[in-house]
């Protein structure tokens, strides 16, 4: 027997949820599918496949005010921003949920990022397991699975006419009213098979090939746009500026990317990663080596967004494959 909810009951429950909290779910915006605040629960997209942008922006917004300067009464005070709104993210896939768990590592490590922690505390994740796999996905090679419930508060799995419900955390339990779920004799569909990449031992191989001419060749075609970083559920770099806005001064942070020209430019104008090869290598070295060394997991969850979105087909699956090959040669 499984806990079960019909599709109609699910939608009316989400409707109720949206009355007291921000309900965020995948919706269609022209040709794109994006996580957005839902106006009508009928707009929620249940289709398989990943959204064009990951839901990281609900924890690490594209732009966010960190604090503002209050200069009233002849005093100068720094007023920190606060997250007030409770949010429920519905329809998050296991890879993206894992992505948030990966973001937790740098952002919740003490001293924790105050705003990130508040977003995290005020958000409940309702996951949707994948019953089919996209051709660009490789989650099982990156430490998660299409039905991994370990990083959400509630996990749903689509079955005929409704969903099997797994209540994973207390936070998830608190969101469900008594008597909403029924028991049903239904078993979950088999998890889809996901293409694999040879990620075993990749950190060590990245060490070995650090100085390989491979990176310059790969970077030949890189445009050094920020698409890969911005669609990525785990990239977490930002830039910070003080801006005057509506008569007050605000400190704002916005997404930034290691691929951006000038990302590493320092006072005096020197840029230690001005060349294309080292700049592109940084993306993969951070994902497959530095983050692994610091936090013990790869900084990639295999969602396949960068694979799909790169305008020149720089494909992390191919890079991993190539690097494994290069490493073998250098040992010989």
């Amino acid at each position: 027997m499984s806990d079960y909810i019909s599709r109609a009951d699910l939608l009316s429950w989400l409707e109720k949820v949206s009355q007291s909290r921000d309900l965020v779910a995948p919706v269609k915006i022209e040709d794109l599918t994006l996580f957005q605040k839902v106006e009508r629960v009928e707009d929620i997209v249940f289709d398989p496949g990943n959204t064009d942008l990951s839901p990281k922006e609900f924890f690490f917004p594209k732009s966010e005010v960190l604090f503002y300067v209050d200069r009233s009464d002849g005093r100068v005070e720094l007023v920190p921003a606060e997250v007030e709104q409770e949010t429920v993210i519905f329809g998050i896939r296991p890879c993206d949920a894992k992505g948030i768990a990966v973001l937790d590592l740098p952002y919740l490590e003490e001293p924790a990022d105050a705003l990130y922690r508040q977003h995290r505390e005020k958000t409940t994740l309702v996951g949707l397991s994948c019953v089919s796999a996209c051709p660009e996905c490789f989650c099982t090679s990156m430490g998660t699975t299409p039905d991994d419930a370990s990083n959400v508060d509630i996990m749903l799995t689509e079955v005929e006419e409704g969903f099997i419900v797994q209540v994973v955390t207390e936070k998830g339990k608190a969101l469900l009213p008594e008597g909403l779920l029924s028991s049903k004799e239904v078993s979950p569909p088999a998890a889809p098979s996901v293409a694999s990449v040879p990620s075993e031992g990749i950190a060590e191989k990245m060490h070995q090939v650090f100085d390989s001419p491979y990176w310059d060749r790969l970077a030949d075609r890189c445009l050094h746009c920020n698409v890969c970083s911005y669609v990525c559920p785990t990239c977490y770099c930002f830039d910070v500026r003080d801006l005057r806005s509506g008569g007050r001064v605000e400190r704002v942070r916005s997404w930034e990317s290691c691929q951006s020209p000038g990302f590493t430019k320092i006072a005096g104008g020197y840029d230690p990663r001005a060349a294309k090869g080292p700049r592109l290598r940084q993306r993969f070295a951070h994902k497959l080596l530095y983050f692994v060394e610091k936090f013990g997991v790869t900084h990639c969850v295999g969602c396949g967004r960068c694979v799909r979105s790169c305008p020149v087909n720089i494909d992390i699956r191919e890079v991993i494959q190539d690097v494994q090959g290069l490493g073998v040669k250098s040992e010989a």
Binding site: D52, S63, D220, C225, V227, P311, N313
Partner: protein
């Protein structure tokens, strides 16, 4: 020989003879159906080159990374105009570039893992199938080309100012400022883009409608009289913003005011890079 075979043979010959150090062309992407840029340095790698209707990238941008080095480039008519633009603007030396021009059948709409038979809108509207200049031509040159038309721009012009504002506000609201449009554009090569300048500060770092509005309009204006219509900005935009519509509006204005289209040759001075005392254009009279 088909286009791919001709390109492979030419690339091999150019690399074997040492005429160029590198041939920039296309190879098959990892999804098995699309194309991606390929840099060939060794004659034995030339066999990877392909050409078909998925080769939509404008490779001229890459010449900026190979200044002063003898390079051959596989170029469609719009890409050739980009090469002309870069020569005209003194970014690339003509004698360092060997143009393998390709008579263009038009590129088709593609997504990751999927190729349609439908021409891209830019290609649907394009009237130039034979490159204006080349050192070697792949394919048979066609008949004289028809005049350029701007039905898409006319549709936008038919809207009221309020409607246009609402349209662009909505489009720009999706912008994530990834700068893929800029990075893919052969005309965007400032060593420091206005968007990243701190002094003076032209636009803040926020990824928000106010800043996105400034970024996208200034990007378009910096290409006034310079855009060669390759549509890369729109092709690479992950948020599907119809950026080339702005560029085409400016292209149309430039054509009407100055009878000028960028990249048609490498010599005619660009209207916004010249000053003629007698030229008043009935503006501000």
């Amino acid at each position: 020989m088909n286009a791919t075979e001709q390109i492979v043979a030419k690339a091999r010959e150019l690399l074997e003879s040492g005429t160029v150090e590198c041939v920039i062309g296309y190879e098959r992407a990892t999804d098995g159906v699309n194309a991606r840029p390929l840099f060939v340095y060794q004659a034995e790698e030339a066999g990877k080159l392909i050409f078909d209707q998925t080769c939509a990238h404008n490779l001229a941008k890459y010449l900026l990374n190979r200044k002063g080095k003898a390079t051959a480039i596989v170029a469609k008519p719009c890409d050739v105009r980009a090469v002309n633009l870069l020569i005209n603007e003194h970014q690339v030396e003509r004698d360092k570039v060997l143009i393998i021009g390709v008579v263009c059948p038009g590129m088709v709409e593609t997504k990751w893992g999927r190729v349609s038979e439908k021409l891209r809108q830019a290609c649907e509207l394009c009237r130039e199938h034979t490159p204006v200049v080349y050192d070697f031509l792949v394919g048979e040159p066609g008949d004289e080309e028809a005049a350029v038309e701007y039905p898409d721009v006319a549709r936008m012009e038919a809207l009221s100012i309020e409607e246009r504002r609402a349209f662009w506000e909505e489009q720009f609201s999706r912008c994530i400022r990834c700068y893929a449009c800029r990075q893919a554009c052969p005309g965007c090569y400032c060593s420091e883009c206005f968007a990243e300048r701190l002094d003076p500060l032209w636009v803040g770092i926020r990824i928000a409608p106010s800043e996105s509005w400034i970024w996208n309009t200034m990007r378009a204006f910096h290409l006034a009289g310079r855009c060669i219509g390759c549509n890369q900005c729109e092709r690479v935009c992950p948020m599907n913003i119809p950026l080339s519509l702005l560029n085409r509006k400016l292209e149309k204005e430039t054509l009407e005011l100055f009878g000028y289209r960028a990249g048609v040759d490498a010599e005619t001075p660009a209207p916004f890079a010249t000053f003629r005392k007698d030229e008043k254009l009935e503006v501000g009279e």
